[in-house]
């Protein structure tokens, strides 16, 4: 089955992963800007990273027939440095018209600090001013519940934002209902140990239905599995779910959400790229 991984960090993966993804049915991915495993020293470090996301990775993906899209921001971890964050936020508009840039992300919170919240709000302002979709990282482990609620408070507090253009990612059993009930898209991350298994994601699909719900691998430089979405497809099939339901979650929903961006020019296997 063709599928889309709406959250994967391919700059951290080897080329063989692109080949494997393609063989598993992956036709498109979106790559949010994230923490590189170390704190960068200057806004120019981010400029180079954004060039990698907008120029290099699309070419690397295209070799394997995978369409590559991306999101730009300074991540929550480095957002603790407000001065650096403001320099990066001021530079982002240079890239917003580049092919494949879907919006602002993955912004969010990490340890739910005041500085992180300030930078998150400034990213929201940027997205509102430039009418950009938003992809949001919610914190890990014991910080997730508190951080997700804080993020939802900030989103609800900005009347300029269109909820249909916002994806709140890494939802789990204790956060998914609040995200969906408040009208946002929700993403389930299939990630060993710290997030959600394909089985638990399938449980949430059964409980909440496919409306505004997606799944992703968030494959990165840490312990992660870039082919986690095929694992979910397999689990849903194993439980007897229809092909149409599976396709909605892993293919049609990402397309519906990404269409909020004018830079989303998806073409399926039988179509030429849209001009």
């Amino acid at each position: 089955m063709d599928y889309i991984d709406p959250h994967i960090h391919m700059v951290s993966r080897i080329t063989d992963d692109y080949a494997t993804l393609a063989r598993m049915g992956c036709v498109a991915i979106s790559e949010p800007a994230f923490w590189a495993g170390f704190d960068r020293g200057s806004a120019d470090g981010f400029r180079d990273y954004f060039r990698q996301l907008t120029e290099v990775e699309p070419k690397r993906a295209a070799v394997y027939g995978i369409q590559h899209y991306c999101w730009l921001c300074i991540n929550a971890k480095e957002a603790e440095n407000i001065s650096l964050s403001r320099d990066v936020i001021a530079m982002i508009p240079e890239f917003l018209d580049a092919p494949g840039v879907l919006g602002i992300g993955e912004i969010g919170l990490n340890k739910n600090t005041r500085n992180e919240a300030i930078v998150f709000l400034e990213h929201l302002d940027l997205a509102a001013k430039y009418d950009q979709p938003i992809l949001i990282h919610t914190p890990h482990l014991e910080d997730k519940f508190q951080g997700t609620r804080m993020i939802l408070d900030m989103l609800d507090g900005d009347s300029r934002l269109d909820k249909s253009k916002i994806l709140v990612d890494h939802v789990e059993e204790h956060t998914i209902a609040e995200v969906l009930n408040r009208g946002y898209w929700a993403g389930m991350t299939l990630y060993p140990v710290t997030k959600c298994t394909p089985e638990r994601a399938c449980d949430m699909i059964e409980k909440y239905g496919p409306e505004r719900l997606m799944a992703n691998s968030a494959g990165d430089w840490g312990p992660s599995k870039p082919t986690a979405i095929p694992d979910l497809i397999f689990e849903m099939r194993r439980r007897g779910h229809s092909e149409s339901l599976i396709r909605r979650v892993v293919f049609e929903n990402p397309i519906e959400f990404f269409k909020n961006s004018r830079n989303f020019k998806f073409h399926d296997r039988n179509q030429a790229a849209q001009p």
């Binding site: 739910n112 005041r114 919240a117 300030i118 709000l121 482990l141 014991e142 910080d143 997730k144 519940f145 508190q146 609620r149 804080m150 408070d153 789990e172 059993e173 204790h174 956060t175 638990r200 449980d203 059964e206 439980r239 007897g240």
Partner: protein, 95 residues
Amino acid sequence: MAQARQIFDENFLAIRAKLIEIAAVLDRIDRATAQAETDPARPEDNVDSDPRRPRVDEAIGILLRTGAQQGERAAALQQLFSRPYDPQWRDRFDI
């Protein structure tokens, strides 16, 4: 959706293995604690004052829930291991 009997049959060995794994880890902690009590080199080596330890017991209790809440065990465990949400956080941060 699969039937209850089928789900149980398919997952029984996985449930068994995970429960035994938890039991073995708790036993391992107890053995290390007992050993530390007789070892003058590590007099403070126990988890008695670690606030996470009673939460593990509470989590095991959640697994035993019956009645109206029994279908919400995963969410309840997630909540147990979460920091509380303060609706007044914006005032506290002054933003």
